[in-house]
């Protein structure tokens, strides 16, 4: 499988990364080089093998259903690029 400029533009848009035409053109061969290389996995016979998501066996824990934090609004907002009235502020999203 290989990607063309239209695919790269689509991936960049899905990833929410703005890219100029020149950047897209430069990325096409770069990504194809990497994707071509990882293609080698197709030669491995993995029939009957379960996908591995967790390497070290571990169990999901339950904890008591009670509030363990909160009340730190100022700390939560202290690194916000723009905070107003105790909220994160963003550009208008409703026309």
């Amino acid at each position: 499988m290989s990607v063309d400029a239209a695919t790269v533009r689509k991936i960049a848009s899905l990833a929410r990364i703005a890219a100029t035409e020149a950047e897209v053109e430069a990325m096409v061969p770069e990504l194809n080089n990497i994707l071509g290389w990882i293609e080698q996995l197709s030669e491995v016979d993995t029939s009957g093998i379960e996908p591995l998501a967790a390497v070290i066996p571990n169990t999901l824990r339950l904890r008591e259903d009670k509030v363990t934090d909160g009340g730190i609004r100022e700390k939560v907002l202290q690194n916000a690029p723009q905070a107003e009235h105790g909220f994160f502020a963003v550009p208008k999203v409703i026309e």
């Binding site: 499988m1 990364i17 990882i38």
Partner: protein
């Protein structure tokens, strides 16, 4: 008298306890060493006040008889660990100026154990790189130079390259690192120091800027194996805030150190003899085999048949997890915001991320987004997870025949800065020996074992069964004692 900056962690701890010198003297000498080593660019910020405050607390604790395990020991902190009140950037423009109101669990544990912080160490941006050249704050320069008379600046390895360079230059006695595909072990090998990545789940990931969550693991880097054991004890332990943290007691690794390997079987995986590997690396490996035999171990040949697929597997799984983890950088809650005139919310996201991420980070996010996208998920991501299962099974089967594995850490000595920059694939191949143990979540460490013909350090890697950090450390100690590695870079900075 030995300069205080030449002491190991154990030497500083014991000297402060015995009153040979004060913690304040130690902190002042290291602060001065850090301040005079700007040419290495090992630090993103220096935090001399933190080191001095911890030192004064240590000196007071000695008078009061309340010394802690790391009282008086100043360390460097990789700038991937959140530190309350101190800028934490992951070497990115995206997080430039970000000051967390909390400590990463591992950082907090080290401070709680009495350690002071000399500064936040430079790294590859978001820990993505093997040479430190992807840092937004400029690359770290290795303190080592080739003995060929040239002055080529060498890579300190990556991503924990600030940590490795600072330790090798003796401007910090030890530092934290993180390892996703080799980011502790490869820089340790490049700079002639030791470093261990523990079993996945030993160290909490909470408060460490996330790269690939199923692989990321913190660990110590230091000048010798004992220091790694001391620091790992302080860094490890259950943390309810990390869902993958292991709820197990932390062994007393330092007290149980032993270089006697009688009764141990050490496997030599034949697949690690890769094409084009320099003869010097092969010779080093042979010397390592002789060393562990001399320590009483039996050496056997083993096979890890899927080794050659590990890198491709890693470069699907790690970017996939990175693309998901890095979705949080949206210009809303923290970090950079780029809001062009008249831009809407979507434009703001895209502009912020275009401005805040470096080229390698973008490359990996795009690869990750592609392999996770509709129609390709099974062909790439699920396939990689299946191959990952086979790689883990290879190790399980090998460990039915042996207790530990011995391999080179990297396929070459340190390369020059800029040498592999133009070809992302060539850079990725540098992780060929470290990635498999990461994919299987196994404890693995690098110890310095010799120099190449240009006078540059080479490392050997020991890989152990899950939770057998002790076995790994002990074999590391056996090699350390026999290799007698005492070379250090000549000071030019």
């Amino acid at each position: 008298m030995t300069a205080l900056t030449d002491l190991t962690v154990a030497g500083i701890r014991d000297g402060v306890r015995d009153g040979a010198f004060s913690a304040r003297e130690v902190a002042e000498d290291f602060n001065a060493a850090v301040a005079s080593a700007k040419a290495l660019n090992a630090f993103i910020i220096e935090t001399p006040d933190h080191a001095l405050a911890a030192a004064d607390a240590a000196d007071a604790a000695r008078s009061a008889g309340t010394l802690k395990p790391l009282s008086g020991v100043p360390i460097g902190m990789k700038d991937l660990f959140a530190t309350a009140g101190y800028q934490t950037t992951a070497a990115s423009h995206m997080l430039e100026g970000f000051v967390p109101p909390y400590d990463a669990t591992v950082a907090g544990k080290l401070f709680e154990a009495g350690a002071g912080m000399l500064g936040k160490l430079n790294l590859d941006q978001f820990a993505m790189g093997s040479s430190n050249e992807t840092s937004y704050f400029g690359n770290v320069v290795s303190p080592w130079r080739r003995n060929d008379g040239g002055n080529a600046s060498l890579a300190p390895g990556g991503s924990s390259g600030g940590s490795s360079a600072a330790i090798a230059a003796r401007i910090v006695p030890a530092a934290t690192g993180t390892d996703t595909g080799g980011s502790i072990r490869q820089p340790a090998a490049f700079t002639g120091i030791s470093g261990i990545k523990p079993t996945y789940g030993r160290c909490s990931r909470w408060g460490i800027v996330a790269f690939a969550s199923s692989l990321d693991q913190a660990g110590p880097m230091a000048r010798d194996v004992r220091d790694c054991a001391i620091l790992l004890e302080a860094m490890s332990g259950f943390d309810p805030k990390d869902a993958t943290s292991l709820d197990l007691p932390v062994p007393n690794w330092e007290a149980l150190l032993s270089s006697d390997l009688k009764g141990k079987k050490i496997g030599i995986p034949k697949e690690y003899r890769v094409e084009g590997m320099p003869a010097e690396i092969d010779a080093l490996w042979e010397r390592g085999i002789a060393m562990v035999k001399d320590a009483g171990a039996e050496v056997i040949d083993v096979s890890l048949p899927h080794t050659r697929y590990a890198l491709a597997t890693y470069y699907i799984i790690a970017p996939a997890e990175a693309s998901s983890n890095l979705a949080r950088y949206d210009g809303v809650r923290y970090g950079l915001r780029d809001l062009p005139d008249g831009a809407n919310l979507q434009d703001m996201y895209a502009a912020t991320r275009a401005e805040g991420f470096g080229a390698e980070v973008k490359r990996r996010i795009l690869i990750g987004t592609y392999v996770l996208s509709a129609g390709f998920y099974d062909a790439y991501y699920t396939k990689a997870q299946r191959v990952r299962a086979l790689i883990a099974r290879d190790f399980e089967q090998a460990f039915e025949q042996c207790d530990l594995l011995l391999t080179p850490t990297a396929p070459s000595a340190a390369f020059a800065l800029g040498e592999k920059n133009d070809d992302p694939l060539a850079m990725y191949l540098n992780d060929v020996f470290t990635v498999p143990a990461s994919l299987a979540g196994l404890p693995a460490m690098s110890v310095p074992a010799g120099l190449d013909e240009k006078g540059l350090p080479l490392g050997l890697q020991i890989i152990g069964r899950p939770l057998d950090e002790q076995g790994v450390l002990n074999a590391g100690l056996a090699i350390e004692q026999r290799a007698g590695f005492s070379a250090r870079p000549k000071q030019w900075w």
